[in-house]
Amino acid sequence: MSAATGAHATRALEADIDKPILRACGVVKRFPGVLALNNIQLDLRCGEVHALCGENGAGKSTLMKVVTGQLQPDEGEVTYKDQPVRFDTLQDSEAAGITMIHQELNLVPHLTVAENIFLAREPKTGWFVDRKRMEADAQIFLDRLKVDIKASDLVLSLSVARQQMVEIAKALSLNAEVLIMDEPTSALTESEIDQLFDIIHDLRRQGVAIAYISHRLQELSRIVDRVTVIRDGGYVWTKPFDDVSVDDIVAAMVGRSLEQQFPERVSRPTDHVIFEVKNLSGAKNCKNVSFNLRRGEILGFTGLMGAGRTETARAIFGADPRLSGDVMLEGKDITVASPVDAIKAGIAYLSEDRKLNGLSLKMTVKENITMANIEAVVRHGLIDNTAEAQAARASVTKLGIKTPSIDQVVRNLSGGNQQKVVIGKWLFRESRVLFFDEPTRGIDVGAKFAIYQLLDQLANEGIGVVMITSELPEVLGMTDRVVVFHEGEVSGIFETSKTNQEEIMQYASGVKRMTM
């Protein structure tokens, strides 16, 4: 806490640094079928780092989009420097001095750092770009951040951390008075985070207001002055960080106890091992992984970003090359060289990014459900429409997919229902082991509960369920055992009932590891 206190002391020396700069009052934003923001408020002051906390889908990004003009509020008001404002585009808000650094960086890899910083605002001599001045100006901003990046470097040659610095330099060049950072540390190493925090401290001293979105609550203590918590699109509270604990924040974010968030488990683990992986190594971030899965249990895979959970699942599924190791289903060795082999053996992988890897959005519910097992509805080489429709309707009924018809295009369904369609696809294939990669990411809170119930139901039917998740409450609330990953290796395996959030975090961050 000493860094924060130090910063407070410095700040006290500067006059009127605490004046409010950006305010959102009673903001309401509706999407079809979802109330995304419900009477939200936020006030940002000059020279403060203001954390915005909330679960996935709580409305943080939506709020930031409203503030930066990417979305227009249905009700409520945004005031900037005491004036009501309505930005029509991101460019308008940037011109006014509000800059957002997105989690996925918005840089053009094949251009230089200077070209990126001044993209679409290039200094010109006559009709031509004044390259010298552009690079000199860019270098001034880079030097202000005390980073060792040359303005003439190509962006693609920089690490993610350095690219982030370029984004910040770009924000500075826009004379940003409000800087919004979305999960800035998620891809950074410890020392890079230190460097980023130094820069944030500097910016704060210069009077910049910083809205800071992060899931890593532990690191907030090093930089944050105040916290606003939002939950399910609604405002919970705003408090000085020194007055609250991390537990208070978590409680406010979740808003209910674990028991209410998760259904009561029906399925009970047995001793019968249905699936086993021994010393598996993959080409990507998967080293010597061993675990087993018992009938009736839900096994969790957890770890920090880049810990190798997804890579392990993809190696098992044959989506990424596998180097060595054995995979056994019901005691029998299976060879998996490609997804086709895995699917034949009865293994399914439900990818992290449904829209990118899991669904064909342009195709119908029916076509998606039968995609992995179209042969089952083929008679004499042709698709049997009646059989296919029957199969699709059966899935829709069993999984409770809310859709006007099986011929509805999947793009038009809600996130939760899209997820159910993917599950339907693999159940129709009669898969025996299902890997769910972040199954509840980006879906409504209510729909999450339905997905949890479904996972439990599948486990109860004897299907092997592996749930990959970075949400620790989900691990604690839903799994029977949890495999913790750190840098591509298994650092620990625990009975969920005999562990806790802190222990899992220690293993996930590599502070401790089990000898296996």
């Binding site: 079928g33 064909s360 195709m363 995609m371 809310k402 038009n412 809600s414 939760g416």
Partner: protein
């Protein structure tokens, strides 16, 4: 708990309905064109002119079907026109060499298939973008056709070589009092029958077979298809082989009509084929498209050419008009699809 979930946005019409609307719009355009031309020219809406239009359109329609197959997978086949020429020339040379005509024609079609296979393998094995792979094939096939013929037409072919392109089914001819033959019904030209039969077969392949479904799923989301166990490489090679075969069929039909092997035939035909597919609602982004749409698209182009000819519009002006039609239809389509 599923309260929020149950409120699915119903407002947006489904793509299916959009596809129907698209087809309907294209069909309505076709009908409007026919009405307009029949008002401006008496000779337009006659049986013999309709048969002529169908005959003229059959080539674009045949390679249009091929183009549809690859575009649905989010690919493209730029080699259609050149492969058409090579296939036709191969068939003509085989016939000239003394190979029985039916076999010579098959050799031509097979040549198209081989070119398509080459395209497919370059795309899947060497992992080159379809645009580049088929651009290469466009030049290779044209070069081979010119090389093996010495850039001269292959002539002196047996008369049966012209049967496929020039004769018709159910042609009714009577003799007038003065002794001249009078055509009562011009009959259905074989190329038109071939086009219709292949269109129906390909429509069934697309709509009713797992292979067809896989083409759509690859075009819609290749990674999702791969993770669902679709054998991406095989299916893609299949699409390009089919495309090549269609170019081969178009090639033998065209050369048969000319009763010579013309190595310079079919230049830029692939662009007509792509235009037909696009006017018919096939999306260049992949995942969307139908054979019926492409046939309608081909006929829109064919009728425009025929009708404008009859009205004495120069071929340069025709190009301008067809260009505007392509831009116009796709723009209307985009407007409809925009949220």
């Amino acid at each position: 708990m599923a309260g929020l979930d149950s409120v699915t946005p119903h407002a947006k019409p489904s793509i299916d309905r959009k596809a129907i609307m698209q087809k309907f719009a294209a069909l309505a355009g076709l009908v409007l064109l026919m009405i307009a031309f029949s008002l401006t020219s008496d000779a337009f809406l006659t049986v013999s002119n309709m048969v002529t239009i169908a005959l003229q359109t059959s080539t674009i329609a045949l390679i249009g079907i091929g183009a549809t197959m690859t575009i649905i997978t989010a690919g493209i086949d730029l080699s259609l026109g050149s492969v058409l020429a090579l296939a036709g020339v191969m068939a003509a040379m085989a016939a000239q060499f003394g190979v029985p005509v039916p076999l010579a024609l098959l050799i031509g079609v097979a040549t198209g298939g081989v070119c398509g296979m080459f395209n497919g393998l370059v795309i899947t094995r060497l992992r080159l973008p379809p645009f580049i792979a088929t651009l290469g094939m466009m030049m290779i096939a044209r070069g081979v056709a010119l090389q093996i013929t010495g850039a001269r037409p292959v002539s002196g072919l047996p008369s049966e070589f012209g049967t496929l392109g020039n004769e018709s089914l159910w042609r009714v001819v009577t003799e007038t009092a003065s002794g001249f033959p009078k055509i009562v019904f011009p009959g259905l030209p074989y190329p038109v029958i071939l086009m219709a039969v292949l269109a129906v077969i390909m429509a069934i392949v697309l709509r009713k077979t797992p292979f067809g479904r896989h083409l759509y799923s690859i075009g819609s989301n290749e990674e999702a298809a791969r993770l669902s166990g679709v054998k991406i490489s095989k299916v893609k090679v299949g699409a390009y082989v089919l495309s090549g075969l269609m170019a081969g069929v178009a090639g033998i039909v065209l050369m048969s009509r000319l009763v010579t092997g013309q190595p310079n035939e079919g230049v830029a035909y692939e662009l007509d084929a792509i235009a037909a597919a696009v006017i018919g609602g096939t999306s260049l982004a992949g995942g969307v498209g139908t054979i019926s749409g492409t046939i309608i698209g081909a006929f829109i182009i064919g009728i425009l050419r025929n009708g404008l000819n009859m009205n004495g519009v120069s071929s340069f002006t025709q190009m301008i008009i067809i260009g505007l039609v392509i831009i116009g239809t796709v723009w209307i389509d985009q407007l409809r699809n925009r949220r």
